[in-house]
Amino acid sequence: MSYQTSIWPLAAVLISLIGSIPIMLSGRTPNLRESWTLMAAFGKVVIVASMLPAVLNGGGFEFTIAEVIPGVPLALRVDAMGMFFALVASILWFFTSLYSIGYMRSLKEHAQTRYFASFAVAISATLGVAFSANLLTLYLFYEMLSLSTYPLVTHEQNAESRKSGRKYLTYILGTSIGFALPAMLIVYSLTGTLDFKIGGVLAGSGASPQLLALVLVLFLFGFAKSGLMPFHGWLPAAMVAPTPVSSFLHGVAVVKVGVFSILRVIFHIFGPEQLLAVNLGWVICTLASTTILVASLVALTQDNLKRRLAYSTIGQLSYMILGAGMLSAAGMTGGLLHIAMHAFGKITLFFCAGAIFVAAGKKYISQMDGLGRRMPITYLAFMFGSLSIIGMPPLGGFISKWNLVIGAVSSDQLILLLVLLVSSLLNAAYFLPIVYRGFFAKAADPVFDEGVKEAPLFCLVPLSMTACASLALFFYPDIFLKLAQLALFP
């Protein structure tokens, strides 16, 4: 496989980072400020999409930013796996930008300039993670994402958000410095490189299985953004953020960056063969399965809609890790595909939660009875998102879950099949009643029968689009499927 040197990967990462400067400077003219955000978001999608054909043809792009450590430059590389994630993130950023404008203005939030600027930095970091050519670059952007999202999580600047912000940083920064950094150093000290290579770099390093197991666990817990238990506590806490932040960062960017980093390590640092050889897949599967089941059970008990979505996210993230841990072709494909499928589904659900809050001011599921009759589009979109995450056809989530099921069967791990089935039932149990009660239950609040209307168009359009995208992904998953195949079996 050959990579062309090109400035475009850097441009794709930097466009929103540079965009944050005019955003900060035009704080007094909100319309101008938001047009910078939209221009950067659109530019980002265009740049990423322009690199897609070359990647689909088996090529890619590279760019070295600086030589910092012998054998490990700060470098970007657009390969199939990075393109896969970048495509999801940049498209969804565009929708989120539209949605943010509607949401933040409807609620007359304070400090919107800081909000949009931090958002722009965060998406730069996300693409940086996607396009990292080695673990060091990935770590750099990973930390940049952690730090740039702190002002977003604590946006409210009240006592509760202060507490959540503290928890967020403690978990995320603590694990990355305490676990991921030493793991990275051990890999470097064993191999002299941190480059992502098909088949892994640790193969043939002569490390003992015990050391490999230690490094694997350090990485799994070190990238705590993936919400793997027991380091998941930050995610429900971070839900104090405004809903667009929760939807994009905690449904898509931040959490998927965690999963993406773990998958990178499994696929391109360890290599599936190496993990099979020393039989470490079960470590990953055990941790992931536990998280899936526990998170789904906890989700059932949550009355706050965003918190229920948060626990659902924790469970779904571990599907992706579980898929990778199966180490079979279908399992790994399913895990990777679920990044995209879950992203479109979950962002729709969060958008809906935000739209409900904007339109009706409700946060708790028990207060939403009958609301669906007043907000049919929102509730319909919510249903699409739920079905996709449960894994029902004809929605995108079915495809990734189908692959996961095949993966479990083909690797002869029927217990994992059981985990997947039970969890799908639980998913249905915590999502579908919301939809049902929204449409058919007696209105919880008499106001619902008169005053409440759908949320503003800036909110409604993005959530309908992402819901439709979830549907479309069932019929046209080809691009993502092809990218996943290329990433795993070039």
Binding site: E67, H110, Q157, A159, I177, G178, P182
Partner: protein, 494 residues
């Protein structure tokens, strides 16, 4: 070795000569102070860059002052390491002085010429320290820098003279230890020139005297660099000193002393002697460094004042570098030397921010900093960069030296040291995010700050922003920095 030039003499002489004229002219008018201070330091900075370029292109050289041949004359050594230190000292001094001009004007009105006279002598003393190749000259210069620092600290308000007195006692004890060590070596070898000592030592049977000498010298230097548990003087001295004095001394003094430790270790003793003949001593010192890092970090957590907190972080960082130098592998030593540069810059950045905050707010107690992000956004942005560097967030400079130190610890199987470094990074994260949190949020129940934006004067902001940018530039450039300078600066044996 290339042919000698006089460039390094100009670097060193500019602040020294200016100091005397400054003392005279400054009495006539205060208007002379700023141009003379900045002029001489700019001259030194530019000249040191030329010197660095010369050393990179054609190698280092040894210089005999007044053509008196060593071991009798005074020998100066210009190599990659000392040239790098000269660049560091002159630039840090220059940038710090710009900001110090303003805070001295506020805190010590009418005494600017006295302050900067001492300051310039201290700076040229530091430059002399990194150049000298003579163990006794080193002592003299060490005392010159120390005595000027005592004076600078004593100019502060309140309990500052007491802190200075405390420092005098500790500093003098340290100096005595060092001098005793040098005395033993002189008795054994009959010379004070370091290279000469190194040549003679292997040929004689020193018995217990040589290790005793080494021990005395190390303890002396450890006191001077505030290596835990010999750090007692530092927190008070640097936090009670006039802001300007802390600004210039904090980034440079401890770092130059660490350089001296490396210089003395490898100019007089051999790699074999230091590390291989007594592995227990070597690993023991790394363990002490690990304990130092953990204890100093813990003490930093207990502080309620921003500047005192920073002083304990400095003490912890000293542990980083001592440990790195004693790991006995080239990666650790690379990390230690790189960290000398990075730590000087990080400390500079943070102390500049502190000076700016102090200038506007007048207090550094953590409670007083609520909502400061809104009031001084640029200062706090630069402070945040400095904080990230201390935590070790890439791509700031602090990450890369920590990377080498950690890697060196792993290669040397010194897991205690590795854990201490990671622990200290986490503690730094807690420390700085505590400040960031206080500054970012407002009083309880308040979502919007009511303070208007009120930044420090431009003359204090400019050096601060420059130092913050430097942290990122040096971080991204750490590859070439290590390849072109530090690899060549490693002492023989690595």
């Amino acid at each position: 070795m290339s042919s000698p030039s006089n460039l390094h003499m100009y670097v060193m002489a500019a602040p020294l000569l200016t100091a005397f004229f400054l003392n005279l002219l400054g009495r006539i008018s205060r208007a002379y102070v700023a141009p003379m201070v900045l002029g001489s330091l700019t001259f030194s900075s530019v000249a040191s860059l030329f010197l660095m370029g010369r050393v990179i292109s054609s190698g280092g050289y040894s210089y005999t002052v007044g053509n008196w041949v060593p071991p009798f004359g005074i020998e100066l050594v210009v190599d990659h390491l000392s040239a790098l230190m000269l660049v560091l000292i002159s630039f840090v001094a220059l940038v710090a002085s710009v900001s110090a001009l303003k805070s001295v004007e506020q805190e010590l009105p009418g005494k600017e010429h006295l302050f900067f006279t001492l300051c310039l002598i201290m700076i040229s003393g530091l430059m002399g320290l990194v150049l000298t190749a003579d163990a006794f000259n080193l002592y003299v210069l060490l005392e010159i820098t120390s005595i000027t620092t005592y004076g600078l600290i004593a100019m502060g308000k309140g309990r500052a003279p007491l802190a200075s007195f405390n420092y005098i006692i500790m500093g003098s004890i340290g100096a005595c230890f060092y001098l005793l060590g040098v005395g033993y070596l002189y008795l054994m070898t009959g010379t004070l020139n370091m290279a000469d000592m190194a040549r003679i030592l292997p040929t004689i049977d020193g018995g217990a005297a040589v290790p005793t000498a080494l021990g005395f010298i190390l303890v002396g230097l450890w006191v001077k660099m505030a290596f835990f548990p010999l750090h007692g003087w530092l927190p008070n001295a640097y936090s009670l000193a006039p802001t300007g004095a802390g600004l210039i001394a904090a980034p440079l003094m401890t770092k130059v002393t660490i350089y001296l430790m490396v210089r003395v270790m490898f100019s007089i003793f051999s790699f074999d002697y230091l590390f291989l003949q007594n592995p227990l001593v070597q690993s023991g010192i790394v363990w002490v460094a690990a304990i130092a890092i953990i204890c100093a970090s813990g003490l930093a957590l207990a502080q309620k004042d921003l500047r005192r907190m920073l002083t304990y972080i400095i003490v912890a960082e000293v542990g980083y570098m001592v440990g790195g130098a004693w790991l006995a592998n080239s990666i650790g030593m690379t990390g230690a030397i790189l960290h000398i540069v990075n730590d000087a810059l990080m400390t500079l950045c943070l102390f500049l921010a502190v000076a700016a905050i102090l200038y506007r707010i007048g207090s550094l107690e953590l409670d007083k900093l609520q909502g400061i992000f809104r009031k001084m956004p640029i200062t706090m942005a630069a402070f945040t960069v400095g904080a990230f560097a201390m935590i070790g967030v890439p791509p700031t400079a602090g990450f890369f030296s920590k990377w080498y130190l950690l890697l060196g610890g792993i290669e040397a199987d010194q897991w205690g040291y590795v854990v201490a470094l990671l622990f200290s990074s986490l503690v730094n994260a807690v420390l700085f995010f505590r400040i960031i949190e206080i500054g970012y949020f407002f009083k309880d129940g308040e979502h919007h700050g009511h303070e208007k934006r009120h930044e420090a004067p431009l003359i204090m902001q400019a050096p601060l922003v420059i130092s913050a940018v430097a942290l990122i530039v040096i971080g991204l450039g750490s590859g070439p920095l290590v390849e072109m300078i530090i690899k060549l600066a490693l002492p023989g044996g690595f």
